[in-house]
Symmetry: C2
Subunit: 118 residues, 2 copies
């Protein structure tokens, strides 16, 4: 039972609807990792924030269900990987705005966000 998933829409406001998909403490961190090129389950789990594995599984499912990320298995391999969809990639300005605000207004924050190395 995922958290930011298919709930009844609260209003037709684009802010409210986007928050229905991304509005929680973890989803955007997974998206941030996807932007950094993280693509394996265990790698997301190793991020410094220490997401619990059940939550990670939920969030990845949500992101896939909502068309922001996709799960795939590279040919010749067996283990799953994740990558951003086009819609997911278009979250970059949003993510950047979040990072910029944090850098400016929360002391002790450090930049590290880089565009996908590839």
């Amino acid at each position: 039972m995922p958290a930011p998933a298919e709930r009844p829409r609260r209003s037709c406001c684009p802010v409210a609807c986007t928050l229905d998909l991304l509005g929680d403490r973890w989803t955007l961190l997974v998206v941030r990792d996807l932007f950094r090129g993280v693509d394996r389950y265990s790698a997301f789990a190793r991020s410094p924030e220490g997401i619990a594995t059940n939550i990670l599984a939920d969030r990845l499912d949500d992101l896939v269900a909502n068309g922001i990320a996709e799960r795939f298995v590279p040919t010749g391999q067996k283990r799953a990987r994740y990558r951003l969809t086009d819609a997911g990639r278009e979250l970059e300005p949003l993510l950047r705005a979040v990072a910029d605000w944090g850098l400016k207004h929360i002391s002790g924050t450090e930049a590290k966000l880089a565009p996908q190395p590839k």
Copy 2:
């Protein structure tokens, strides 16, 4: 006991830290209303998403505690009002990015965000 309040910081990532303050389903909607000039408790509660009053009280407290909004009582009046601080006003690009993404990628969303009519 507010939700997105003074928790131990999860990491020094500006995205994570910003999410510690704004990462839930309601906080940014209250900020959106503040941008629209909504300033009274009852008016926030009347927004179409229908925030529960206990949650509204919590979120307003959080926003004030985190320096994003401030509570004030106009001279000659008795009832409280709320307004954005400078830091809060600088959330505009973030809010706009959230709205833009929703408008583009979630069907049925309608724009309405306008700069504070002042």
